[in-house]
Each structure stands twice: as C-alpha cells, then as structure tokens.
Symmetry: C2
C-alpha cells in the first residue's frame, strides 16, 4: 500500500533560530510586524509500506538516522493513504 | 486579534529539486526506498490582524514581497485563531 508522509522538522524550543530572526527583521523593514516567527522544514515522501503503523515506524527511523538532528530538532510525522 | 499562520513554500511542479534528489539518494543508501520525495519550507508566524481575511491578505503580501519567489515557488497559507 502507498502512503503519503509529511515529516515536519523544526528546532526544539529554546534553540536560537538566527534565520528566523533575519526574516522577521526583513519583514519588519517592509512594514510587516510579526509577533513571532519560526521556520520548519517539510519532507513530503511517498512510501510503500504494509500498513499505516509500518509507514510511521519507517518514517521515524528516517528522521532518527538522517533527516533530523535529535540534539536540536523535534519532528512530527503525518501519514495519509 | 492574534492569528497563527502557517505559510508553506514549495517548488512549483516541474522545477528541479536537487536537494530532494540528494536526500532521496542518501535515504536509499541507508536502505529506505522512497517513491517520491519533495521538500518544502514552513514559516510559522504569529500576527496581529483585524480579522481572518486581513491576516490572510497580509500573509499573501509577505509571500509576494519576501518569502517566496513567484517564478519558482508556490505557497499555501493556513490561518488559525
């Protein structure tokens, strides 16, 4: 069965995000005042797996082994059919 | 009123995404075979606006003027209270 997986990787709370600060500053210079801004990265993956649980387990393994840095990143996984 | 906005910026269909190909290749080397992989960038913004429509309009303007490159990117905007 094919699954569509969205893996969202963001910095853990408390981690400095200089890129987000730079973007917030640039937006502010253009007249857009934002109260808070954070960035995240999304990987949209099409995966063949036996069932939804297997797809999720495999995605978690991908995060742990390659996509995320567990020291600084947290991630969420959304599995759709 | 405060709104939480998720702006997702991805490459338009047909644009080459060498980073996604590299990640897919690296995953494959680790034994994770994916059928397709694409990347996107998310900006999570807290914004003060009069109503939901105003928040969305302001977010669109941010995309057009700074966050996205309209030539190569498409974007979706999600507004929550």
């Amino acid at each position: 069965m094919k699954y569509k997986i969205d893996i969202t990787i963001s910095l853990k709370g408390g981690m400095l995000d200089p890129e987000a600060r730079a973007i917030q500053h640039a937006l502010s210079n253009l007249g857009f005042n934002t109260e808070n801004l954070s960035t995240a990265r999304v990987f949209k993956i099409d995966l063949e797996a036996e069932d939804k649980d297997a797809a999720r387990a495999r995605s978690e393994e991908m995060c742990e082994r390659l996509l995320a840095n567990p020291v600084i990143h947290s991630y969420t996984i959304e599995v759709r059919e």
